[in-house]
Each structure stands twice: as structure tokens, then as C-alpha cells.
């Protein structure tokens, strides 16, 4: 049995082995919580693409708040549209009030809301960060920037997917994806499902409930079918605030959602707040049987 673990954003500069150890130890903690015996024969695969993604981000030169202020909106319309769509949804679903956003607007700035008003879009991002993502290495803008590159740029997706594909084997495998990693897993499984002896697919802190993302994936499907796709999230995790249900990710057979995770990390999104959840670990254990 193998467990394929696919990490998310903001992992550049980290050591692959160190990250892998964190994931495995956290999952062990979860097994303890679930009162499940730690399996004796299991191998872990941890495809690492953090540095590669950092390089892509650096090369992409996507407009930042500063450059947009200097040159005006419209430098990369696709990116700006993506940001606006995602942030609008995050604001609405995350319960961020208009007043909170307005408080983040520069004094005297236009209040018009629209694609031309990058200031408003940025204000939503700041309001979200103030309320929901206080962790210093994670901002909603950073997250969306990296996700955008992955879903909008074929070369970026191909390179990252290839890192995961090279770890695939013919052995029974459980796939766990976190954050952007769950989107990566979705795409890899969609393309490679037939060559994989998949025993279970588990996503945690998964952003596929964001329409700005799900609408870029073509016709959606349950890539784990006929095995179970289990999706766990903390309902205070801004990245994963929508369940993968008929409204946000309509597939058959339905995905099993578990929204009762209490992620104890600062931004409610970290992997160490997910894999130690008893139900998540229990799903991994069940998939091994």
C-alpha cells in the first residue's frame, strides 16, 4: 500500500524530506485520535514542486497591487478577472461585509465595484486576510496567484502534474491532496485514473468549491469513482469554505464531505490541522482495508 501526498502552495524553499515527515507524523497523530493502528506496511510518496512553483511565479510577473496602481488595471485581464471572481465569492461565502472591505480602501478612493476597480478587489483581499488568514506566510492573494498560474497556464500545470505522475505506481494507492495539491490530484487522477490502483481519494482544505477554479477544469467528474472521494474542511478555512456538493461541485457519485474539522492552525488551513483529524485518519485507515 502506498500513500501519495500532494502539498499545496507556499512550500517553496522547504525541504522535501522535512515536509514529508510533517505530513506523516500528523497523519500518525490522526490515527491515534481515531484509535486506529498505524499500518505496518505502507510507503509514502511526496512529490515536491514548491520551488518549481516559486520559479513560475517569479517568471510570470503577474500584476501586483503596486504595479497596478502605477500602470492601471488591465495588464493581465484573465488574472484580474480570476482574482475578482474568486475574491467576490470568498467575500460573499466567507461573510465579509461590504463595510469591512470599504475600511480597507485607501482614503478617498472610488467605491465603484468592478473589474476596472482593482483597488476594491485588493481591499477584499485585505479584509479576508485581516479576518481569516493572519498567518504571516499565507495571504489570500498569494494563494490565488499560485492557483491561477496552475489552472491558467498549461506549461505550469504540465510541469507540476508531471512531478506527481512520476510517483505513480501499479501498487494500491491512497491519494491525499491539500489545498492547491487537491486540484493537482484531481487533474492527475482525471488523466491517469485507469493506470492507478486507487483505493481512496482524500482532499483537505480543498478550493474546488470556488467557481473561479472549478469552471476552469472542464466538465467536472468524480475522479475517484468507483472508490470514495472524501473531502474534509474546516468551515472557517477561507480557501475551502464550500463543500464539494451538488451546488459547488456537482458530480456523481457524490463526494463525501466532512465539514467538522477543527483546524488548529493560525489560518485554519494548514496541513497539520487537517491530517490529525480523527475522521480524516479513519478514512485513510478504511481505504487501506
Amino acid at each position: 500500500m502506498r500513500i501519495l501526498m500532494v502539498h499545496g502552495i507556499a512550500q517553496g524553499g522547504r525541504k522535501e524530506a522535512e515536509l514529508k515527515q510533517i505530513w506523516v507524523e500528523t497523519l500518525q497523530e490522526g490515527f491515534g485520535e481515531a484509535v486506529k493502528p498505524w499500518p505496518k506496511k505502507v510507503e509514502f510518496d511526496f512529490p515536491y514542486y514548491g520551488d518549481m512553483l516559486d520559479d513560475f511565479v517569479a517568471q510570470a510577473n503577474l500584476p501586483s497591487p503596486a504595479t497596478v496602481r502605477a500602470k492601471g488595471a488591465g495588464q493581465n485581464l484573465d488574472f484580474e478577472r480570476f482574482m475578482q471572481s474568486a475574491l467576490d465569492q470568498l467575500q460573499a461565502e466567507g461573510g465579509i461585509s461590504e463595510a469591512e472591505v470599504r475600511d480597507e480602501m485607501p482614503e478617498g478612493a472610488s467605491q465603484e465595484k468592478g473589474i476596472q476597480n482593482w483597488g476594491w478587489v485588493q481591499a477584499i483581499a485585505r479584509a479576508i486576510d485581516n479576518r481569516l488568514t493572519p498567518a504571516s506566510n499565507f495571504t489570500i492573494e498569494l494563494f490565488l496567484r499560485e492557483v491561477f498560474l496552475y489552472i491558467a497556464r498549461r506549461d505550469v500545470a504540465d510541469a507540476i502534474n508531471a512531478k506527481v505522475v512520476e510517483k505513480l505506481t501499479a501498487e494500491p494507492t491512497i491519494v491525499i491532496g491539500h489545498s492547491l495539491g487537491s486540484v493537482v490530484c484531481y487533474n492527475v487522477l482525471k488523466a491517469q485514473r485507469s493506470r492507478l490502483d486507487l483505493r481512496g481519494f482524500i482532499t483537505v482544505g480543498c478550493p474546488l468549491g470556488l467557481r473561479a477554479i472549478s469552471t476552469k477544469l472542464g466538465v467536472v467528474s468524480n475522479v475517484a469513482d468507483p472508490k470514495r472521494w472524501f473531502n474534509a474542511y474546516d468551515d472557517a478555512d477561507i480557501v475551502a469554505l464550500n463543500p464539494l456538493d451538488n451546488r459547488w461541485f456537482p458530480v456523481q457519485p457524490k463526494i463525501t464531505n466532512h465539514g467538522k474539522v477543527h483546524n488548529n492552525t493560525e489560518n485554519r488551513h494548514g496541513i497539520i490541522g487537517y491530517l490529525n483529524d480523527a475522521k480524516v485518519a479513519a478514512q485513510v485507515a478504511a481505504a487501506m482495508e
Partner: protein, 599 residues
Amino acid sequence: MKKAAVVIGVNKTGGLVPLASAAAEADRVADWLAAEGFKVKKLTDAKGAVTSAAVAKAVAAFVTPVPRFHLLVVYFSGHGYWQARSDLWLLSGAPSKPQEAINLRAAIDLARYSGIPNVVFISDACRSIPNARGGAYVDGIPAFPNYDDIVSESKIDAIKATSEARPAYEGDIGGTQRSVLTAALMSAYEEPEPKMVVQLVEDGRQIEVVPNRRLEDFLQRKVDALMARVDPSATQTISVNVPSAEEVYIAQVRRPPAAPPPTRGPAPIGPGPPAPPGPARTSPIADAGRAAAAAVHSALSERNFAPRAAAVLSFDVRTERSVARRMPDPKHDHFESQTGFFVRGAIVHEAVASSFRRDLVAERLEAGDGADRQAIVRLRLSAAMEVPEKSAISVTLRFADGRCAVLAALAGYIGHATVKADGLTNVSYVPSTNHGRWQDYVQRQGELDRLRAMVAVAADRDAFHLRSEREAQALAEHIRVVKSIDPALGLYAAQAFAQAGNDTQVALVRAAMADDIGADLFDVRLLLGRRFRGGDLRYPVVPFCPMLTQNWNLLVGRGIPLPGPLEEARRGLCDSLWTTFDAEAGTIVLDAVKRGALR
């Protein structure tokens, strides 16, 4: 493969003559598609009115923000109009309620962004021009939702019962009232010719299908055969545009059980086998478009398209005349200011440049006589006999009969315009002989002029469709003149690229044209996905409205608001390829231009 279908049949529309077959045909199609595994929503007026809201709701059930289906078929049988160069499917409340119709061109435009990889529209309806003023007010709704998040373009196949401005028929087929196109279409899957059939493996099963790409020839021959029984004096030329890939199909082949041996008594009147290959009984008007389109396809397939290739592309007399009428007049080859228009077929009463650049003026030098003597309109700086490089401005021409046309005046180009009874049928932009572009143009003059004219004839008949990526590439190469792009060909090409769902080529054409002429043509900007407004699009847009009539249908779906005068004037659009307003609407437009409300 997840498939869905919205099937609509409307027998009775307002005061129009009730149809006998539309609702029943929708029943048959719904049953047929359901048996093929489609999820079907059927709307017929058998038990009540079919409304545009109900159609939009049925479409929205399948076209969701997160795409769930791989194929969507939208079928309509009923009365139809051809208005402002779009098909209008008339629902129960039309024409007295202008919104109780589906605007097919607008629907197709939004379907491109539905997220469903393949959408097929089947239109078994007339495409007649409304013969009453009330009909001209019918504009219909797009019926498809507009989801801004979806950026990938769907492939849209369209199968229409007849050619533009022509009727479609129903009649007794095999003892039953049938719509001719629908009967022909369904028979394609029961009695296909061997060359139409492709074998596929789906869900581990080998199946026989008829790809959409292989339908057209059969359908036309079958329609001809059925029409020969229904009404031998009438013709029905179908219109088919299928940019989808070879493996895209609607239904499997389901051959009926072998017929029992013949018995005594009279033979039943049935659809019978397809007509043997032979000349189709099509209308001459559509034939010119098809002939021109075929010639363009042939030209694009030439490895080295050159004057030699152009020379061998000859047509029947009628088509040749259509092509010749669209060739620029070589006698009128320059202006001192290098910029202006020659207009044949109409007397020009007035020419007004918009106030977008107050230093540029349009001078009517000759009114023309509406026949051989052409009208002459020159553009220049008010203070000098020149037009600065990369200047572009809207010019409104008022003809003696009160109609108006709106064109882009482009620095260094002479616009050769042709007006006919329907309105402005053609515009060719050719470099002025005293402009630097002339030397490049003259090297390929014969080829370019003829290609442009052939494309114009095909586009005028709604027959100019690209059939492959290779053809798109060839067209992109042929419209280039060294560093510039022939403006009219660029416009037609952008149209064809957009119809084929090739956003990349539209963007390339737009970028090259804008760099050359210093502006975006309204239509090309419009066709550039949903980016009409955007900061990186730094060029001004000319003219102030679509130049091609058909593109007016895209404005609502793409959320592009029109200034009040244009919103009012759009009711008076003529049935011409290039935007022409009738006299009443022309007055509204010209007044607005003069007071600076349209720039």
C-alpha cells in the same frame, strides 16, 4: 459522456399560420434523444404557451456555472424570422411580444462560453424576413446564461433547415405531417451511407455513429428528395456549420429491422432511400455563397496561394457577377489625403465624420448618380490635405433615399463601398497608391482583391465557415500583407475564427490590425471574447457601432450597452451584410452624430 437536450416545438405563434408538425416533431426528437441517453427537457405548445422564460429556464438547468455535460443539443421546430442577420425562433407570444423569441446568433455566442465542450443547435424553422413592421421589433433573448468565469470556448455546430431569408417546409411524408429537416436528420441515423458511419468504442462497447461533420451532404440530398414529394416546385437549401471534431456525434446508427417481403396492394408512401448523388435542388442565392465558399476553401488548401491560383478559381455566371461586383474599382485608386471612400450604387447626400477627432473632416466631393458614377468622400485634416498616420474615425454616410451607413475611415486606405437594394453589401479597404502600403499591396493585388470578394460573397450568404485548424492558419497567412492585414479580410477572418471558436486567431488578427491602423474595428474588438472593455486594449474603437449587421446580435449577451440613439436605431437595421439603417433610423443616427452623441 453526459448529454443533454432542450427540445422546443411551437405550432402556433401569434397570428401566423399554425404549423401542423412542429410540436409533434419535438415529441419525436425528444423521444429519440432520450433513447440515446440524453437528459431531455421538452417544451411544446401542445398543452400551453411556450415562453422565452421557460426556454431560458430549461437551458439553465443544463448550462450550470460548473459544467456538467459534454454535449448539449438545442432543437427548435416552429416559425422563424431572419432579422438583423440573425435567426429568431418565434415562441407562442411572438411577434406581438418582441422578447418572446430566441435570438439564435446571440444564443450561439453565449453558448460558446457555456463550458459545455460541444453544443449543437438544430433549427427547423423558416428564415424569412418579417414582412410587417411589428416583425422588425422582435429581437428575442439569448436564452443562455452568461457565466463570466468560463474562459474556454465551446465548439458550436449549427444545422439550419434553410438558407438565409428563405422558408423551410413541412408536409406529408409517409402519411404523416413532418418537418422536412427533422425527417431528414432522423433518417441519417437509420439509413446512413457507409461513408458517413464511424465506429467508436464507448464504455467498452463498439458502436456505430454518424459524426456531425458527415451529415451535411446526406441531409441536403435527403431534404431534396423529401421536398420533391412535399412540393416539387419549392427548394430548401440547408445551412450547416460544423466546427466540432470528427468524433462528435448526436446519435448512434439504429438501422430499422429489414423490411418484410413486398405484399400486394398499393405501396406505402414513405421517405424512401436518399436521393442518388447529383446536383442539389438548392436556391440560386445560396448557391452563389456556397460556390464562393467552396472556392475560398479550395484557395486556402493551395500550398502557395498566388495570382495563378486566383486566376483558376472561376464560377458560374451568377457567382462570377457577385464576385465582380465586390472587386474594388481600379480607376479610383488614390486621394491626396490618402483616405476616403468611393461609393457605387447610391447617391450620397451627406458624409459626416464623428467628433472623436475634431481636426478631421469628411468632404463629399461627388454625390454620384447611384449607378456608374460613383460618390466620392474624402477624409482630411481641416487644416491640411492629409490624414495623420494611424488615425481612424467613424464616418456616417447618408444616401439619397434616407438610409445611412456607418463606416470606419482608416488613414491611408480607400474604402470601396457598394450599395444595393438591401443596403451596404460590400466594403473593400485598399491602400491609396500614394501611401507606403501600396507597394506591398500591389505585389498581391489580383489575389487579394479576388480573395476578399469571394470571402465577401460567402460571408454575405452566411456560408463562410472554417473547417479546420489548418484552414484557419492558411487564412491567417493569406490576409497578411507584409506587416499589415487587409482590413476587410481581417474583419471577415475574425468573424470566421470566432465562429470556429478560435479565440487565439481572433486575438492575433486584432493585434496586427490595431498596430497597423491605430485602432480596433468595433466588430473585431467585439469578437475578441468578452474583452470589449479592458485596460490593455489601448486603441480607440471605430466606428461607434458594429460594421457587420449580424454582430448587433452579440451586444446584449456580451453586456455591451449602446448609446440611446443606437438602441433606438437598431430597430431599423436593413438586411444587408454591412450595417445600414433605414431612413427613419438613419435620421436618428445622423442627428446623434452631428450633436456629438455618437463618436
